[in-house]
């Protein structure tokens, strides 16, 4: 069985009076089981050229619904004001600004539940990887 792990560390010495230091690791498994995820898009980069608009990164139709897919996204920009808006279907989930990353569970529970990205400027580059559950 393939083993895929995701580890996050959140740390701050000055946000609160006590030091914040949180590390946790998840082994990515299929929905409701201990079997590891078996598919991935691989690590990719996408440059969105001029005339940008919301771009469909992953189509909900292409993946099994109601599963435990996981999506990694990173905004590679170094310009602080540049962001990608992450959209599921037509709902704006949030913005990843320059250097930010996100790790998102994705149900793909309807054909319309596409993952879309909308850059705030031309020629921004997104790094991404999808781990799929069937």
């Amino acid at each position: 069985m393939a083993t895929t792990t995701a580890t996050i560390t959140l740390a701050s010495t000055d946000l609160i009076s006590d030091e914040l230091s949180l590390t946790t690791t998840a082994t990515l498994t299929a929905a409701g089981s201990s079997t590891g995820l078996t598919g991935t898009s691989g690590l990719g980069r996408k440059k969105l050229a001029s005339g940008h608009a919301a771009y469909t990164l992953f189509d909900g139709d292409d993946y099994t619904a109601d599963k435990a897919h996981k999506l990694y996204l990173k905004n590679t920009s170094t310009i602080a004001a540049e962001y990608f808006e992450i959209i599921v279907n037509s709902e704006q989930i949030g913005r990843i600004y320059a250097g930010d990353w996100a790790f998102i569970p994705w149900m793909a529970n309807a054909s319309t539940n596409d993952i879309k990205i909308d850059p705030s400027a031309d020629d921004m580059v997104l790094e991404y990887m999808l781990f799929t559950d069937d």
Binding site: T4, T5, T7, I8
Partner: protein, 137 residues
């Protein structure tokens, strides 16, 4: 300014070559490198089945650089919480899974809501933000 870092490492033997991807970011206020997110809500709750609950009771300022960490501490692999925003299904966090997402809170309806499935789920969360619209009593 407050400095909070969020780092991720993804490793896998799914591919022919071993994969290891790492990224780290300092959680900044929207559109700046001069000022970090300086407010946080942090909690641990038992989430019973049956109803959908808003995870964050207050309303953080819209369209900022807010970040949400959420982990399902349930040890039963069949348990999960369904995560939605503004009634839009996003994904499922099974026992042991975590997520770290930007949270837009673009209007009052854009709450992050969670629903437990399988049994009572144990949820840990942290929201890093730069201000909230407090709800009057």
């Amino acid at each position: 300014m407050a400095t909070t870092t969020a780092a991720v490492t993804l490793t896998s033997d799914l591919l022919s070559d071993a994969m290891s991807v790492s990224a780290s970011t300092t959680c900044m206020k929207a559109g700046t490198t001069a000022d970090g997110l300086d407010q946080m809500e942090y909690g641990y709750v038992d989430l019973p089945t049956g109803d959908e609950y808003d995870l964050v009771a207050s309303t953080p300022t819209a369209s900022k650089g807010s970040k949400l960490y959420l982990k399902n501490h349930s040890t039963d692999e069949t348990y999960y919480v369904a995560v939605t925003q503004n009634a839009q299904a996003i994904g499922r966090l099974y026992g042991g899974d975590w997520m770290f997402i930007p949270a837009d809170f673009h209007d009052a309806a854009a709450d992050i809501a969670i629903t437990a499935n399988g049994g009572t789920n144990k949820i840990c969360y942290a929201l890093f933000h730069e201000g909230t619209v407090l709800v009057t009593t």
